[in-house]
């Protein structure tokens, strides 16, 4: 089992308690414990200043000393670390040299999710992604099986619709809110899904959202996008199709969610900084999503910015670097 988190350690505590089923944990994080974390994480003030993975290991060991750990305190999105990270996914399993069984992403930013997505697509690694919104009143978990389900890059980031006036929540100059209760719920949903997946009971959710304001839990499954920008996702889709053809047919009972097409009004504000023309240009097709789930933004079908491209030149990279330095 491999874990990445930059924010929520409730996951860790729940899983530790279920430990007979969890034989090994790899932890990746590049943050330090701070006093600001005390509202929601399982660290204690005396651990402030330690790296989160180090502090987490101490705390988790005391809960369950029988689970071995491997922790890495680095930023996975840099070139140097990413290669090592991919290596640990593919070789850091229970038996060294074998891949891990599952990757759990509990990070708090788009860039890290994309990096994990890139790695898992390339390796064909099953993973679960989770998150809590910036306004702290919604969250989600998502199961991603490269080639079979949508990957994280197949569609723009999904958002659990909040059905509240954003202005009552957003305050100028403040970046994000944090509610330990929302995180606790999402942590529970994630670990529950992990147990069902690993132990084979119940129905594993492909996507489960949590709208805290209305206690609404939209769920759905999203198929992979044949035009996904990530070529490894497309490759995995081809391989999955081949495998499906070879598999004997099974009777599958699937509950189809009634799909309600969203009104594409999300771009309208009282005082818009974006002109009508720009809004039109920026709007693309909204995927078919059930009630309660929408996308953070859309990508237009036509090509985005138009204008002159860089000129053709014979100059080498070194010559260009030197030219820049002389400016």
């Amino acid at each position: 089992m491999l874990w990445l988190w930059w924010e929520w350690e409730e996951w860790a505590v729940s899983l530790q308690k279920c430990s007979p089923d969890v034989a090994l944990l790899l932890l990746f994080d590049y943050d330090k414990v701070e006093l600001a974390n005390m509202n929601r994480l399982f660290f204690q003030p005396h651990q402030a200043g330690l790296s989160k993975v180090e502090a987490a290991e101490h705390t988790l060991r005391s809960i369950n000393p029988d689970v071995p750990f491997e922790s890495h305190n680095y930023n996975i999105t840099t070139m140097d670390n990413f290669t090592h990270f991919m290596n640990r996914i593919s070789h850091g399993g229970l038996e060294e040299g074998k891949p891990v069984d599952l990757v759990l992403s509990c990070v708090d930013n788009f860039e890290a999710r994309m990096a994990i997505n890139t790695a898992c697509n390339e390796l064909g690694q099953v993973w679960m992604e989770s998150g809590v919104s910036e306004n702290a009143v919604s969250g989600h978990i998502q199961l991603i099986i490269p080639g079979e389900t949508a990957c994280f890059a197949c569609a723009p980031p999904l958002v659990v619709a909040a059905n509240i006036d954003e202005k009552t929540l957003k305050r100028d100059g403040v970046c994000a809110a944090s509610l330990p209760t929302t995180m606790g719920v999402v942590a529970g949903l994630l670990v529950q899904n992990v147990l069902k997946f690993l132990l084979g009971f119940g129905t594993v959710s492909y996507y489960l959202g949590y709208n805290a304001m209305q206690d609404f839990f939209p769920s759905m499954a999203m198929k992979a996008n044949p035009q996904c920008d990530d070529r490894h996702c497309r490759r995995q889709q081809d391989e999955y199709k081949k495998k499906e053809v070879e598999r004997p047919k099974q009777e599958v009972v699937q509950e189809e969610e009634e799909v309600v097409h969203e009104d594409n009004e999300w771009g309208i504000e009282l005082v818009s900084e974006v002109s009508e023309a720009e809004l039109q240009d920026a709007s693309g097709p909204v995927p078919d999503l059930p009630e309660g789930i929408t996308v953070a933004y859309t990508i237009p079908e036509k090509d985005g910015a138009s204008g002159e491209t860089v000129e053709e030149t014979d100059q080498s990279l070194e010559e260009l670097m030197a030219q820049m330095r002389k400016m």
Partner: protein, 167 residues
Amino acid sequence: MADEATRKAVSEIPLLKTNSGPRDKELWVQRLREEYLSLIKYVENNKAADNDWFRLESNKEGTRWFGKCWYIHELLKYEFDMEFDIPVTYPATAPEVAIPELDGKTAKMYRGGKICLTDHFKPLWARNVPKFGLAHLMALGLGPWLAVEIPDLIAKGIIQHKEQQNS
């Protein structure tokens, strides 16, 4: 998008063609050449408009970038060092520009001095992958951030001009 001046400046930055990241070996070299071409043109445009506000250079592999940016407030020029790494998922994800010396001085910053961009930036970048490059990151990301944050930090007395510090 931002104001008229920014829009105009951005429209004059050459767009990039090659969709490749730092893991793509030969194609990455091609992308780097395009990044430099675009940056050089943008800096030339800025000089012509009497608004030369940054310099950037990279390591040999083009994976680490560093440089300086300037902001003029009430006739005084404030200078800041900046740096960023190219993430493995570039250009699908934009690099996080950091100004380490301002770390902890404003709420609009993550740890390590990484500047916090507005809600508009990420969707705008996503819509224009791979045509936007580092020059666009400067024009749409760092530029507007400086324009909002620096006057505010000066007004609050959190940063002072270097000459005032020495006197």
